[in-house]
Amino acid sequence: MPVLELKVNGNDCQVLVEHTTSLLEVLREKLMILSPKMGCNTGDCGACSVILDGMLVHSCITPAMVASGKEVITLEGISASGELHPLQKAFQDNHATQCGFCTPGMIMAAKALLDENPKPTEPQIKKALSGNLCRCTGYKKIVESVMAASADNPASGS
């Protein structure tokens, strides 16, 4: 069984995995990081989205071993020293959650966007979030939240 070494939310981790174990399984079942969710297990819904070495990926279809030596950031890891990330604050203030199941993946996708493009247009936001499904909100407040966060966001992202 291969040993996987990776950094998750700033912490060095070592786990035993099989060659086909997904990154999602590693996060949820071995590291007890529960914010990435299993929605489809086929990379179609985005509920499992995390940031891998600065890149948004669907952890359910990312083989865990591909993350070897890399850094994973999940929702648990985006609040710098206890302060809410502007996206988190915006999602709360703008009512962008209902059941909350899509929220972790959605915020990570939005963060990946703002890290690359601090002042996106609405079409850019929609395109960036097009890999994340929400069955509750109808997306409007989610898009508004990302717009609001980008207005607050320092240009360098965090």
Binding site: N41, T42, F91, T97, C99, R135
Partner: protein, 459 residues
């Protein structure tokens, strides 16, 4: 007393939990020793199971337990208990659960499914509800493919005399509308975690939208209170006295814990997984978790069943609908569930928000060899609303009348009696449409803007 919250902006109380990733859903509950559950499902749409042999699966290393119908204390549940937890003989839809395994991990669980041996005699299925209504159609269930409401094969509501109304009418406008089936596909699938507690008790972490309901059903299935699990009640839509599933004792031995639910929309109103995880937890004495795959969710979970709605209206030249006949056919799939109730509920709303003095609705609940239909947003009303409102447009078109005017003309006013025999005390379609027009930037003529819902205001 001053209102403290109404009219003020309030933040969602669980919003903070969601945005920090701390919300816990059933799949997030991690208990050491939890077994993974997978179901063995019928490969055929319709058939008879002649035998089932699970011994090879049970003997596999890593398999803690396998259940079949033999392990179910009372293998019937539902609003009118017609649905088995696990198939005993008759298979009514492809994917119907026949057996379930609890194993140390998913790989072993799937391998165990492959070792279950069944002998099934396949039969000809029927999928189309219109075909299912024909006398020579394959029988989905022994009682026939059309639910009996008392002595009639449909839920009947009527008021006045539609034949007289049709005679008097200047126009007859008849149309059939089809409202297709829909899948909720909430982002979280069906998930259930059953944990055996001391003294034969059970905690079930559930996504149920109807925990009290399901608690009763589970008590019945598990026969927790011994044999006292039935009470007599008048089943209002069949008019017959029927036994209910509700267990009168023993419900205190099952605790349904709800956590955050990743979307329901009516798709988590039926028992999907809790009964099976419960049985496996009791059999294996270990926590058992079953998380449905997205495929299982899309194929086998309850969905909104399709409706065929025929509306025949008798309309006067001035736009008044004086008679309406509606025939609705609800395709409920393989079991009763909420579907008889749906056909009934539908029929109370076929006038829409309009006053129709002569009305008759025949609401059919039909069975087909498909997964069970059930609740979904606007259950049994949305399909009717769609049909009624499109029909209004067709009437307006036929008469060359403004669709707004037509609706104001037929709006329910104070004092109108509906088919349910309710006399309306405080209707407000008129005011609602006026406000809507303003919002939509539509300028309505004065006589419509001046109208109120008072009984003497009919135009």
């Amino acid at each position: 007393m001053a209102l403290e919250v109404v009219g003020k902006r309030a933040l969602k109380y669980d919003g903070m939990s969601h945005i920090t990733g701390q919300s816990r859903y059933v799949d997030d509950i991690l208990i050491p020793g939890t077994l993974t559950v997978k179901a063995f499902r019928s490969p055929v749409h319709k058939g008879r199971m002649k035998s089932i042999d699970t011994s090879k699966a049970e003997n596999m290393p890593g398999v803690a337990g396998v259940i079949t119908y033999r392990d179910v204390p009372h293998n019937a549940y539902g609003m009118e208990p017609d649905q088995p937890v696990l198939v005993e003989k008759d298979i009514r839809y492809k994917g119907e659960p026949i057996a379930a395994v609890a194993a140390i991990n998913e790989k072993v669980a799937y391998a165990a499914l492959d070792r279950i041996v069944v002998d099934i005699e396949e039969e000809e299925p029927v999928f189309d509800p219109l075909k299912a209504m024909e006398p020579d159609a394959p029988k989905v269930r022994p009682e026939g493919n059309v639910y009996m409401f008392g002595s009639e094969p449909f839920k009947k509501v009527y008021i006045g005399d539609i034949d007289e109304g049709f005679r008097k009418a200047d126009h007859i406008i008849e149309e059939t509308y089809f409202y297709p089936d829909m899948e909720h596909s909430a982002l979280e699938t069906q998930v259930s975690l059953a944990v055996p507690e001391a003294m034969g008790k059970l905690t079930i972490y559930t996504v149920s939208q109807a925990r009290n309901f399901h608690l009763g059903m589970l008590a019945g299935i598990l026969k927790l209170g011994g044999d006292a699990l039935q009470c007599e009640c008048i089943n209002e839509w069949s008019g017959k006295t029927r036994s209910s599933w509700r267990g009168k004792t023993g419900m205190n031995r099952v605790r349904l814990e709800g956590y955050a639910v990743g979307g329901g929309f009516g798709g988590k109103n039926e028992l999907h997984a809790d009964h099976i995880t419960a049985l496996l937890a009791l059999k294996t004495a270990r926590p058992c978790k079953w998380r449905w795959t997205r495929e299982e969710e899309l194929l086998y979970s309850t969905h909104r069943g399709p409706w065929y709605v025929t509306i025949k209206d008798g309309v006067m030249n001035d736009g008044r609908i004086i008679a309406r006949y509606v025939k609705s056919i609800h395709d409920g799939g393989a079991y009763i569930g909420f579907n008889a109730y749906a056909a009934g509920k539908f029929s109370y709303f076929v006038n829409g928000p309009y006053y129709v003095p002569n009305l008759r609705c025949e609401g059919y609940c039909v069975f087909t060899n498909k997964p069970v239909a059930s609740t979904m947003r606007g259950f049994a009303v949305a399909p009717g609303t769609f049909a009624v409102e499109v029909q209004m447009h067709k009437i307006a078109e036929k008469l060359g009348m403004d669709p707004w005017e037509l609706r104001f003309k037929n709006a329910i006013l104070k004092g109108d009696q509906l088919v349910t025999r309710q006399v309306m005390k405080d209707p407000s379609l008129v005011e609602t449409m006026q406000a809507l027009a303003k919002r939509a930037g539509v300028t309505l003529p004065d006589h419509l803007m001046r109208m109120t819902s008072e009984s003497n205001q009919r135009i």
